[in-house]
């Protein structure tokens, strides 16, 4: 332990040599727990203050002495940078004010230290009936104060471990107050059967000649070889802790100063921070601060356990009476509320349905809007051709060169081009028409084929669209809203085409794959464009998210809701085998739709 801590000290000193302390001309305010007022405490602790001052010449070290509450208040008010207090109190301040221990007082077991933490329960030697702590059942025991750590809490915990609970009056504590010598006074007056002293205090008083050797005996002495006899385990020493707001640099500098102190005086002996878990465990067991909240629960449990059963029965009876009276009223009221809620629910559903239809319609129009540029271009083609033939005929007629063959050729071409234009417009009108959603069985490949034809019809130079149909014969049909699914496909095709146009490769092919996916049918549309940055991919389906300068950002979010309405999911993945983006979704097959009422 010593070797380790001195290595630690050296390490800290070395580390700090690299960063000249920031402590500068600051102040180092230390609060110390003092039971007996300033003067006694100052006499005891001033050696530490002086030693720290010597180590930290640039800092003004000041010491203040408080009782438990005073120390806590001063810490809460930010008046202190550090506190020195007993382990129990430290644990409380750690929990309530985020105080952090930086060092623990080192207690030499061979030394009857002022600060050894643990207790001895003493009885007058003549009380031969009292041998162990277990013998204290039903007896009276003198302690210092209810929140004294080694003056009461440690013994309380020990008694409780032995099944003797002061709170159930199995032993009666009598709080004599501080200083601890009052415990002895109480014993001497015969007011109590036993008394609690801090470990080593007995030996100390004997050595000072203030007490006769053998006058008192320690109950249940542990580790008989130790120089001080004690009845409880020992706990970590007093803590030197930094307040929550204390700068790290100041804490470090102080720690190094503390660790480098030496001297025989207890107050100068500090080591690396000890493990305070035993203290936590003990306080939790006792359900005292900072674990007093545990007590509330158990209090409730006690109340429940000891509640007079008769009263409960009576209450239950009363409640049953009231209940039966109220039930009728409630049933009627609830029925009314429920039917009102149902009506409201229906109304909302109806409104959402209308809303969704409007939205679908809007989105179809929005896709059309985006396609209208290419649409205009595409209609231009047949119109320009028709115009050329018509004017040529006129021209030939005036020049007298109009042959029957020419008329036939021109008329045939004009009719063909007119049909082509009409076909384009018909596709658009079907698509844009408002309609009520309805599901039907239809052939998946045929549905895809129709929308591919419509899409190609809208573009002047439509790219190659490769359809890979892996559906087995018995799985060809899907149960869907045809127009909605066509809308999704059209959107995905347009996205794919736009992705190709964005890299000036409008001619790249688009792949569509149809395959079974369990009970459902999967359709995937894949482009060979530049793909998508992963942060964009995450936002892909958000409404109004778009990477296109002319896009509304509605397309994919509507597609997603359509697919979700078909109990599927629209996902975008980066293909493994090259650039591009692959959108896929599943739809209910006609077979599985029979099991699925949606």
């Amino acid at each position: 332990m010593d070797a380790r801590s001195s290595t630690f000290v050296r390490l800290c000193v070395l580390l700090l040599a690299w960063c000249p302390t920031l402590v500068g001309a600051s102040e180092l305010r230390i609060g110390v727990l003092a039971w007996f007022g300033d003067r006694t405490a100052a006499a005891q602790w001033q050696a530490l203050g002086a030693a720290l001052q010597a180590r930290l010449p640039a800092t003004t070290v000041s010491m203040a002495y408080h009782d438990m509450d005073g120390l806590e208040n001063a810490l809460a008010a930010g008046e202190l940078d550090f506190i020195i207090t007993n382990p129990g109190h430290y644990v409380v301040l750690e929990a309530r004010h985020r105080a952090t221990r930086i060092a623990t007082q080192r207690i030499d077991p061979s030394h009857d230290s002022e600060h050894a933490v643990g207790s001895a329960v003493i009885v007058p030697s003549e009380r031969t009936d009292l041998r162990t702590l277990d013998d204290l059942r039903g007896k009276r025991i003198a302690a210092t104060v209810p929140d004294g750590f080694s003056g009461w809490l440690t013994v309380w915990a020990e008694l409780k471990r032995r099944g003797i609970d002061p709170e159930r009056e199995e032993v009666t504590p009598l709080f004599a107050g501080l200083p601890m010598s009052r415990v002895l006074d109480s014993l001497d007056r015969g007011e109590v059967d036993a008394g609690i002293l801090r470990v080593c205090l007995l030996e100390h008083l004997v050595r000072q000649g203030r007490l006769l050797e053998g006058r008192y005996r320690v109950l249940s002495p542990q580790e008989p070889d130790a120089p001080c006899r004690r009845s409880t385990p020992t706990y970590p020493g007093w803590a030197f802790a930094a307040a929550a707001g204390t700068p790290d640099a100041l804490a470090r500098a102080t720690l190094v100063a503390l660790l480098s102190l030496d001297g025989s005086d207890d107050v100068l002996r500090w080591g690396v921070p000890a493990d305070y878990h035993p203290v936590h465990a003990m306080l939790r067991e006792l359900q005292v601060a900072p674990y007093e909240f545990l007590r509330e629960h158990s209090l409730e449990a006690q109340i429940l356990r000891y509640w007079p059963i008769g009263a409960i029965l009576l209450a239950v009876l009363l409640m049953w009476l009231i209940y039966t009276l109220r039930v009728e009223v409630l049933v009627q009221r609830r029925t009314r509320e429920l039917s009102a809620a149902l009506a409201a629910h229906h109304e909302i559903e109806e409104r959402m349905k209308t809303q969704r239809q409007k939205m679908d319609h809007l989105s179809r129009l929005s896709i059309l809007g985006e396609l209208s540029g290419t649409l205009a271009h595409e209609l231009n083609q047949p119109l320009a051709t028709i115009g050329n033939y018509a004017r040529s005929l006129t021209r030939r007629m005036w020049s007298g060169k109009l042959s029957d063959d020419a008329v036939a050729q021109a008329a045939h071409e004009i009719a063909g081009q007119a049909e082509r234009a009409a076909g384009i417009l018909e596709g658009i009108r079907d698509f844009a028409r408002k309609r009520v959603r309805q599901r039907e069985d239809c052939d998946a490949a045929k549905l895809v084929g129709e929308i591919v034809a419509l899409f190609r019809g809208m573009l002047a130079k439509a790219p190659e669209i490769r359809i890979n149909d892996k559906l087995p014969e018995e799985r060809r049909n899907i149960h869907v809203d045809r127009l909605q699914i066509q809308q999704v496909l059209l959107n995905l095709l347009k996205n794919a085409y736009d992705a190709h146009c964005a890299i000036d490769q409008a001619g790249l092919p688009i792949d569509i794959v149809l395959e079974p996916a369990g009970e459902r049918t999967c359709i995937a549309v894949r482009d060979h464009g530049p793909g998508l940055a992963s942060e964009d991919q995450a936002r892909l389906f958000e409404p109004f998210f778009t990477t296109k300068s002319d896009g509304m950002g509605l397309g994919l979010s509507i597609c997603k809701s359509i697919i979700e309405a078909h109990a599927g999911q629209l996902v975008a993945v980066q293909p493994d085998d090259g650039p591009g983006l692959c959108f896929s979704f599943t739809l209910p097959s006609a077979v599985s739709a029979r099991h699925d009422p949606t």
Partner: protein
């Protein structure tokens, strides 16, 4: 309008079959001889020579694989004399402007008036004829000048610049008599009658021929 007497030829290159046919039909209605190609590759496979009577190319600006613009670039690289008219769709004006800068005769945005189209064709064919004529005259002048010996070429150039026999003699360190003889040969071989005529001939063969 007066239909052209001989056979200038208009090549229409457009991947859109029905539209291409309608253009050919229109051109034939106006009496032109038209020839259609469904792709730039098709045309480049055996690029036809520009006939003496002239002709022009009508290119769709957007075509798969080799676009109209790309075809124009390749023809320029081949030093092709064909004048080019571009047909553009909606929204391709930027491309068309670039094509004009690169030497296209004109561009027409679909749909266009037939008269405007035919006028442009006329203009392009006329331009091709002028180009043909100019290049023919240039070739003739070069052939005439090629008949001169190196010494005669030196004398001819100085004559064209307006120097006297004396000055030429001093310049080339030969006697006035010798200059006189060379001068006679130059005039005979080139068939020119004066220094001014000789100067025109040299400039026709090479516009920079008289620079220092």
């Amino acid at each position: 309008m007066i239909p052209p007497k001989s056979d200038p030829i208009v090549h229409v290159i457009d991947d859109e079959t029905s539209f291409r046919r309608s253009l050919v039909f229109l051109l034939e209605s106006a009496g032109w001889t038209a020839c259609e190609h469904e792709s730039a590759e098709n045309f480049l496979a055996a690029p036809p020579a520009l006939p003496a009577e002239g002709g022009c190319l009508v290119l769709d600006i957007r075509m798969p694989r080799i676009s109209g613009i790309e075809l124009q670039r390749r023809l320029t690289a081949l030093d092709s004399p064909w004048p080019i008219i571009f047909i553009t769709g909606h929204g391709d004006v930027d491309l068309a402007v670039q094509a004009m800068k690169d030497g296209a005769v004109d561009f027409l945005q679909k749909p266009f008036k037939d008269q405007a189209f035919l006028d442009t064709i006329e203009r392009a064919v006329e331009l091709s004829r002028t180009r043909q004529q100019a290049s023919r005259r240039c070739n003739e002048a070069r052939e005439l000048l090629a008949r001169l010996s190196p010494r005669e070429s030196e004398v001819a150039r100085r004559l064209a610049l307006g120097l006297s026999n004396k000055e030429i003699g001093r310049d080339l360190s030969i006697s006035d008599n010798t200059v006189h003889v060379h001068r006679q040969h130059v005039m005979e071989k080139t068939g020119t009658g004066s220094a001014a005529e000789l100067a025109r001939l040299i400039l026709r063969a090479d516009p920079n021929g008289l620079d220092q």
